[in-house]
């Protein structure tokens, strides 16, 4: 039973700076189904983190958020007051951040974090013994070897990998329906990264929580997600089911990313580089933002390009999509 | 520390302005005044502020503003002398002890801890009893109060940068220790030291004023701010302006110095900048 859990329509996020308003994310629309994983890919500055933080209303005070609608379980949550919305945080909508070490309060034990979240979500009268028992259970599910001991420890007494597991456990503790994981493995070394990814995979299969998994690594996205959104310079440039997107990416940027990922896997001698960098600051409204770096650029690209559906793939923001210019990039 | 950034920072700019004005007033003011600081005029004793005497006159008819300016100069010089000496000895001790570590470090830090264990003013007071009163001894007392602070800051920072690349490079190149310490390390750790120096000079003036105020520092008739305030205290109820205005001058001077120190600190510590 596929049920749409989250639906985002035309999200725009801008920051009010002293000098001007900086739009960091525009016309973002997507949906996440129950039990599915949406991969959100982009390099730094693409707007991926901002978009997901916007959904959870975790942006700083000088950010302005506009959307046609943000529907969660059928309800438009963009009109909720802050107090009403806050009840959703942690219980229905949750976020796992990139740095596990910084995510815990260094002067408090891991157990304290569970206890306070438990009291918050289950009511102040919830018996402590029960909270801690469930905490140990969820820690065990997160592959923590000795949950009892872990609860008594302070963050600085644990490794990054263990802390990430504890963080994941803490987030799953209140059984949220949608979890945004913002590059949860970037700060970990490769071996631990693998373990955490396996953990995510296990959670995906065992619970029916949905995930938005943010990463800059195509390989991870392919491994873990059902569908993918590729963002560039604040816009979605391609979105669609993972397999189709990976096999035959339509947007030149996506093609570059996939090619690099395959090359890394196959250990070629030279990596094909996507030349140039995302610019900072205001992006041009009326032309393709990837144009400066695009090998397929022509003058026709110099006007605003909309997302178009492409048969068998999803949506693509490129005039060349579906014209056979795409490469079949098979593993 | 870039000069341009410095001038843009409002705090630093304000501090620099006030301090400069103060210094100008203090060094050139008495010359411009028609009164001498020791000019008695009993006919006009204890006059409230007027055009002729912007700060009024004291019990001996002396023009207060002239005395204050001259007193400020003396207080400032005493404080600067003391702080400077504290810096010379403290920084040197801190550099060597932070660099070499070992027993030298332990001894220096023990001495520092000991000096730190005495309340600043009590230490100064104690020294005045032991050494006798007078200008030089006040400076000496100030030096001993601040020596541990400079030693500790320098030593802690030297310890931190001791293993940085440029230090090791200098060592490999065979540079002598003094050169490494003073040419390589010191410039890199100078910002917090300078901040501390401005605070030290500011509070050194307070210490001097305090000691002179209770009569254990600079002795009259030499005007120092503390002496003038002690004077003003005697007839405070009748004619409060002497004490009030002389103390106000101290406050303004300190304000300038503190703002300056704050400005330097703001510029060298990026974490404290107000983000947009």
């Amino acid at each position: 039973m596929t049920e749409t859990l989250l639906e985002v329509n035309d999200l725009n996020v801008a920051f009010r700076l002293a000098s001007a308003n900086l739009t960091v994310s525009s016309d973002v629309s997507f949906s996440v189904d129950r039990g599915k994983v949406l991969g959100l890919i982009g390099e730094s500055g693409s707007g991926k983190t901002v978009t997901s933080k916007a959904i959870l209303r975790l942006l700083p005070k000088n950010a302005s958020l506009e959307a046609n609608a943000i529907r969660f379980k059928g309800r438009d949550i963009s009109t909720l007051t802050e107090a009403e919305f806050n009840r959703l945080r942690g219980t229905e909508l949750a976020m796992i951040f990139q740095d596990p070490v910084g995510s815990f309060n260094p002067v408090k034990t891991i157990g304290w974090h569970f206890r306070t979240v438990g009291k918050l979500h289950r009511g102040a009268g919830a018996p402590r013994g029960e909270i801690m028992k469930e905490a140990k259970e969820v820690l065990a599910k997160a592959d923590i070897a000795d949950p009892e001991n872990a609860l008594r420890k302070y963050p600085h007494q644990m490794s990054g990998g263990m802390l990430q597991r504890c963080l994941i456990a803490l987030v799953m503790f209140s059984k949220p329906s949608l979890i945004v994981a913002d590059e949860p493995t970037t700060n970990l070394d490769n071996l631990v990264e693998r373990q955490i990814l396996d953990l995510f995979d296990k959670l995906r299969r065992e619970t029916d929580a949905s995930f938005i998994f943010i990463t800059h690594d195509m390989t991870i996205a392919e491994m873990i997600s059902d569908s993918v959104i590729v963002m560039y310079a604040g816009q979605i440039v391609e979105q669609g089911p993972t397999e189709a997107l990976m096999r035959r990416p339509q947007h030149p940027y996506t093609q570059g990313l996939v090619r690099t990922a395959r090359e890394l896997e196959g250990e070629v001698e030279t990596l094909t580089e996507i030349s140039g960098e995302i610019g900072t600051g205001v992006h041009p409204e009326n032309r393709c933002r990837f144009a400066p770096r695009c090998p397929l650029y022509e003058t026709a690209c110099d006007h605003a390009i909309a997302l178009r559906p492409v048969e068998g793939h999803g949506l693509v923001r490129c005039i060349k999509a579906g014209q056979g210019a795409a490469n079949e990039v098979t593993p | 520390m870039k000069l341009k950034h410095f001038l843009h920072n409002r705090t630093a700019l304000a501090g620099l302005t006030i301090t400069t004005l103060f210094l100008l007033a203090v060094f050139f003011g008495p010359m411009l005044s028609k009164w001498s600081s020791n000019q008695h005029d009993f006919m006009n004793a204890l006059q409230p502020p007027s055009w002729a005497h912007p700060f009024g006159t004291d019990s001996l008819g002396r023009d207060v503003i002239t005395r204050v300016l001259e007193g400020a100069r003396i207080s400032l010089l005493i404080s600067v002398a003391g702080v400077f000496a504290a810096m010379v000895f403290g920084i040197t001790a801190g550099l060597y002890s932070g660099f070499h570590g070992g027993w030298m470090d332990v001894i220096v830090m023990r001495v520092v801890d000991l000096l730190f264990a005495f309340p600043a003013f009590v230490l100064a007071l104690f020294l005045m009893v032991a050494l006798g009163y007078g200008v030089t001894n006040v400076a000496l007392a100030i030096m001993l109060v601040y020596l541990p602070i400079f030693a500790r800051i320098t030593r802690n920072m030297t310890e931190t940068v001791r293993n940085d690349a440029y230090v090791q490079a200098a060592q490999v190149m065979g540079q002598g220790t003094p050169r490494i310490l003073f040419r390589e390390i010191l410039p890199n750790i100078s910002a917090p030291i300078l901040v501390q120096a401005t605070i030290a000079v500011a509070f050194g003036i307070v210490i001097e004023s305090g000691l002179s105020f209770i009569g254990l520092g600079v002795q009259p008739p030499t005007p120092s701010l503390g002496v003038i305030m002690a004077d003003g205290q005697e007839y405070f109820r009748r004619s409060p302006w002497v004490l009030t205005l002389s103390g106000l001058s101290v406050t303004v001077a300190l304000l300038g110095l503190n703002l300056l120190g704050d400005g330097i600190r703001d510029l060298s510590d990026p974490r404290l900048k107000v983000r947009e």
Partner: protein, 318 residues
Amino acid sequence: MPSSLKYFLTRLSGSLVTMLVGTIVVFLVMKAAPGDPALIVLGDYATDETVAAFNRKHGLDAPLMAQYLDWLGGLVRFDFGQSLSVSAGENIGDLLLYRLPNTIFVGVYAILIAVTLSLVLGTLAALNRGTTVDTSATSLAVLGVSMPDFWFGYMLILGLSIGLGWFPSYGFTPPSDSLAGAFYSGFLPALAIAAPMAAVFTRTLRTALIENLDREHVMVAKAMGHSGRFRFLHHVFRNSLIPYITVVGLQIRYLLGGVVIIERIFGINGVGSLMVEAAFARDFFVVQACAVVFLGIVLAVNYVVDLICAMLDPRRVR
């Protein structure tokens, strides 16, 4: 945890050693001071015999080491010897006993005022960073640090005592006589000492709060659904306590210094004013004793502050 016990004991022994060395230094420096105790008490025209008798009576003709050990032995028993000139012949210990509570009362009073003021101002400034509230609070703080405390004391007298007549300008009711009286008569002196301290505390708290407001775990707590109040209290404020308390501890050094002059101005019979009187009267024994008392207080407070900080920050005691 045995490791923390070891830490506390090591620190304690360190403090005791410092205290000991401190007494040696105080003793030696006082010995080097100009002035002969015998002549001070007996007058400049005393005969050699009376001087010799005096020295014999007070053990001043013994070798230096013996004198020191004698004095130290007395210290441990809280016997500070006898005053030379401030209150000739009187047991210094009695003098101190009478005066110490007053000093401590005013000192603690001052700290309470300073902490209260700084908690309010610092929090307001940090939470409203960049606005007028923040600028005003910070400006007040800079001003507070720039005023000589005894001058501020006089300004308070001018304004609140002579001017408005709300508080007495001189004289102090010891807490042993009347607690309410002590609070009333001690308000202006405590406030005068508190102002510069409050300024420093406010700046420290503001900086620490601002730093902690940006920390990731605060954001994580928000993502979990914790309220703003919870986040501030348990994630921001709690984490700012350590630098704050450290600074409060460091300021004790300043506080006791400020007490000295303020006691003089307001006519408080405390250890500070005793030390000043003794300085004028060249009463070395009393000066020594006061110095040692102050030293002891500072070391004790430092030790307690260290203890508190170690308990607050689990990362320190390892």
